[in-house]
Every structure is written in C-alpha cells, then in structure tokens.
Amino acid sequence: MEFIINYFNYIIVVIIMMIGLWGMLALSNLVKKLISMAIFQTGIILFYISMGAKIDSSIPIIKQAYDEHHHPIHQVINNADYANPLTQILMLTAIVVGVATLGLGLALTQKVYSEHKSLNEDEILESLS
C-alpha cells in the first residue's frame, strides 16, 4: 500500500503516456492520432504536476501576504506549506503548446481531407501509390 501511494501517480503517468504513444504510432485515423497525441502530452503534464505535489500543502498562493494598508507582510515562508509553483508554470506552457499543436494538426487534417477525401492514413497511402 505504501508503495502504491508513493508511486501510483507515476505508474499511471507511464500507462497514459504509453497509451498515447501507441495511439500515435499504431492508429490510422488522423483525428485519433491527434487525440492520442493530446493524451500523450497530458501524461507528461501529469508527471510534472505529480513531482510538484507535496503532502499537506496548499495551492501556491501566499496566505496573508498583505496587511490592511496593502503593504506586504514580511514573513518567513515555509516551503513545505505550498505546492511547487515551478512545475505548474512549466505545465501551463506545455498545455498551451499542446493546444497549439492540436489546432495546427487539425488544420492539416482538414487539408489532408480536402486533398485525399479520407482521414485514414492507410487509405491515403494506398491512393498515393
């Protein structure tokens, strides 16, 4: 049980990523490939977020940062009280990159469809050869 709690997230990360990777490589439908790609990316995001989690911690917004005159209170902040902000920022970027890639991939899919009248990779390759 201890082992599962300690590593559960990471095991799921690996499984999710591998589902995504397999889908990207093995499926023939272009939209499915893109969905797999998104799944693969979320796997990585989950990996980062899991490494930034801390047991018994709060979201990374400093509590009682200001006094009533809106001056910052200088206090000693305990690192373990707040979740890791760094991994979160990195993953914000990754999400945005992911959706940008998804959008571009979808645009390409539409172009492929209007060119070959198909969304199936095998069918397209067959029509080309």
Partner: protein
C-alpha cells in the same frame, strides 16, 4: 547596446515577425524587404556577439536580471556563437532568395510566409543560445510549429507528409520534455549549468540515465537519425522551395547542436563515455545511418528527394563524430554542423533554381542543363564537390577531422562508412552532372527539344544567394584553421 547584443539576436526577428504580420495586412510586398532588413540586423548582432565571445570568453546574459538558476539565462560560448551566426546568415541568404519563388508558389500568403519564416529563425536562434532546458523546449516547439506550417504551405502530398512530421516531431519534443522532467525531479533545476554542477556532485542514478536516453531519443527523432528518419524525406521533398531551403540546412543541424550541448554542458562528457559506454552502439547507429542514407539516395530519381536522403546520411556523420569521444571527432562533428549547413543550403538553392525554371526536380528532365543554366550549375557543382569532400571546400575538412577521430578511436566501420559515403556522393552527383553535361543522346531521346537547351537562367535574386553560398563553402574551407583554433577548441577546453 553592445551588452544587449545577445538578446537582440533573438528579439529583432521576433519583433520583425510581428511587424511583418501587421504591415503585411496593408502592404504585403513590403514583407520581403522587412525580412531582409531583419536578418541583416540579426547577422550584425550575432557577429558582434561572436567577436565578443572570441575576445572575452563565454557570455552569460540574464533575462529579467534574475540570477542564474532562478531566472532564464542565455549562455553564449564559442560554439553556439558560431552556429548562431550561421543561422542568421542562412536566414538572410534564403530571405533574399525567396522573393520570386514565394511570389510564384504562395501568392497571397506572402506576409504569413515571411512572418513564419522569421519566427522559425527566431526559434532556432533561441534554441542555440538558451541556457535553460525548458526554455529550449518552448523554442523547439516554436520552430517546430512554424516549420509544420511552412512545409504544408505547398500543395498535394505535402499535407500528409507534414502531418507525419507533426506526429513524429511532437513525439520527439515530448521525449525531450520527459527527459527534462527526469532531470528536474533529480536536480530541482532547469538551468543547464546548474544541472551540470548538481549532476557532477552526485552519484548518478538510473533516473539520470533515463533522462539522458529520452533527451537523446527526442533529439534523434528531431534530427532524423536513421531509423527515426522516416518523416524527413517526404516532408522536405513536397515542401515549397524556399521552405526546404531554410529547413534543410537548419532544423536538423540545430538538433545536432542541442545533442552536443546536452552531451557537454548538461551531462558530463566523461560520464557519458566512461560510465555509460554507449559509444559503440551509437557509432554503429551512425554507420548504419550513413550507409542507409547513401543507399536510399542512390535509389531516388528525384533530385530533391535524393538530397533529403543525403541529409539523413550527413546526420550520421555528426552523430558518429560526436560519439567517437575524442577531440578530433568532436571537432569534426561541430565543424560539420557549419559545413553541412551551408553545403545543404547551396544544393537546395541550386535545386530551387532548377525547379523554378524547369518545373520539377526529376533527374531525367535535366538533360543539357549545363548549357541552359550554367551559373546555377556552377553553384551546384561547388555544393556537390563539398559533399563529396573535394578540397578546398569545407566538406573536405569536416571529413578530415571525422576520419582522424575515427582513426584515433579505432572505429574502423565508421571510417569505412565515411569513405563509402563520399564515394556514393561522388556517384550521385556525377550521375546528375553527366545527365546535365551531355545533351540528350540522339539514340536515347529522339524528341529532345532543341528549344530546351537554350540559355535560360534563373532570376538574379536567386543566383546571387546561390553563388554567395558557394563562395562561403570555399571560404569556410580556407578558414578552417581559424574556426577550429578560435572557436571549436576553446569550446572543447571546457569539458575535455
């Protein structure tokens, strides 16, 4: 302003891309001029930086003035200053070259093309300069996204080829990101120098090894190392000419540089060679890449596609050289980044001129092309000689170092593969020279048009970049000694 030169290298094309987009709404034709101005400025800044690096050594530029592991920093050492300069110059050359071609192939998408073009170069410049592992990922994605768009701006088969590239490229980038994640979880840092220090002090765990493995695989996908190359030939073949001229010299080479960077300034070079001991396997991979690239190239009858397979072979050179694990091999690999960048550029520019005039790149349609386009063919010849490795072009000198490295490391298969690849290149290019030099034989092609063989040269704005590149090839060759002594050797002093 001089202290800001390193950042201006990246910021200038970034701002330019925005202005090109905005101005392009009203004056689409200005975008060409703007792009050229941008790259002139970028080249100047990168030259200033290069000079400064030679004078004072590694420059560290802190973005937002945050000290190193907390903020993002740019680390400009001898090698990447050189590569940045190369990227800027290649950008400038292709920008000048693209004028007619873009007008012909892309029509009303000109401002978008140039905007993506400058952003692509921005991304590549950033990748080369940055000292932050995650920043590198973001820039990698910028260059990847722009390149997908630029490649797909063509018609027909380009779409599905680019789609494949998108899938493969994303896998590569994700593997890289995963590797960085493993580094982060082990060291808590993203700054390359910081990671290097932390890793050097700690006994290395299996997780670090996996981090290294995934970063390498990610980069190998991006640089199209055989057998992960399948996306490259089609994507580059069916792309618009100007796009392939820009991407072919830069994309894969920058990935190679990232690999070198990871091997030297993130992981410990000694760790890689003394602890991991993968070099035999990876040099063998490189050998296979060289041979496979050459063999596939032999089977093509489309010139552009043939060149794309040559890129695959050349990647084998660089990967092999870097993994020989000695100074000569590393020098060869890093010198070859520059050399191969310009070689590929030269050949693609020449092929672009041919496509512009003839309409396709089938070798069979090039009969009598020496009479028809003599100036283009001069450029082509110089590029071809460089690929074969004829002195004093730069291709010879990179081969010199690579073979030296192979000899020192006793990597005989690699040495033989290098020589075989040179010979195959000779065959490949002389096949074209033969077709082009001999007119259509009367008994072979009785319907050869006499008209076909009239003098009909590409426009001057395409020829000047081509000839400049050809001159650069020889220039680099003659200045090999300076490049190696002042730039590559000081860089290698850091880790060897």
């Amino acid at each position: 302003m001089i202290e800001q030169a390193p950042i201006l290298i990246v910021v200038t094309p970034l701002l330019a891309a925005l202005f090109i987009t905005i101005i392009g709404l009203y004056r689409p034709l200005y975008s060409w001029v703007l792009t050229i101005i941008t790259f002139v400025i970028t080249s100047i800044f990168s030259f200033i930086t290069l000079k400064k690096v030679i004078e004072t050594g590694t420059i560290r530029y802190m973005l937002g003035n945050w000290p190193a592991p907390f903020g993002i920093e740019y680390v400009i050492d001898h090698l990447n200053a050189l590569i940045v300069f190369m990227i800027a110059v290649v950008g400038l050359i292709v920008a000048i070259y693209s004028k007619h071609d873009v007008k012909k192939e892309l029509g009303d998408k000109i401002p978008h093309f140039y905007s993506l073009f400058t952003l692509l170069v921005t991304g590549l410049l950033g990748i080369t300069l940055t000292g932050d592992a995650f920043n590198l990922y973001v820039l990698l994605e910028i260059s990847a996204l722009t390149s997908y768009a630029l490649l797909a701006l063509s018609k027909g088969r380009a779409y599905i080829a680019t789609f494949n590239y998108l899938i493969m490229g994303t896998i590569g980038a994700c593997f890289y990101l995963l590797g960085v994640g493993y580094l982060l979880i082990n060291t808590g840092s993203l700054n390359m120098t910081d990671i290097f220090v932390i890793l050097s002090n700690n006994p290395t765990s299996y997780a670090v090894l996996v981090a290294f493995l995934f970063i390498m695989i990610g980069m190998w996908i991006k640089m199209a190392l055989f057998p992960l190359h399948s996306w490259l030939p089609n994507a580059y073949t069916y792309a618009p000419t100007s796009t392939s001229c820009l991407l072919a010299p830069l994309m894969t080479k920058v990935s190679v540089y990232v690999m070198l960077r990871m091997m030297t300034s993130v992981f410990n070079y000694n760790y890689i060679f003394n602890v991991l001991g993968w070099q035999t396997i990876i040099v063998s991979l490189a050998v296979i890449a060289i041979l496979a690239g050459s063999i596939f190239a032999l089977r093509q009858d489309n010139l552009k596609k043939m060149l794309t397979y040559l890129i695959v072979a050349e990647i084998g050179y660089m990967v092999g050289g870097a993994w020989l694990g000695n100074a000569n091999g590393f020098t060869g690999a890093s010198y070859h980044i520059i050399a191969d960048g310009f070689m590929t550029l030269c050949l693609f520019l020449a092929v672009g001129c041919i496509i512009y005039k003839i309409g396709d790149a089938q070798i069979s349609s090039m009969k009598g092309i020496f009479t028809k386009m003599p100036i283009t063919m001069i450029g082509f010849l110089v590029g071809a000689f460089s690929m074969i490795g004829v002195p004093p072009t730069c291709g010879f000198f990179s081969k010199w170092y690579l073979i030296s490295g192979a000899y020192e490391a006793q990597a005989w298969p690699f040495m033989v593969a290098l020589l075989i690849s040179s010979l195959v290149n000779a065959i490949l290019f002389f096949r074209i020279i033969e077709v082009g030099y001999f007119q259509a034989m009367p008994n072979e092609d009785p319907e050869a048009h006499p008209k076909q063989q009239k003098y009909n040269e590409a426009p001057i704005s395409m020829l000047i970049p081509l000839l400049t590149t050809a001159a650069i090839l020889i220039g680099i060759g003659l200045y090999t000694s300076e490049i190696v002594t002042y730039l590559i050797e000081p860089f290698m002093d850091n880790f060897l």
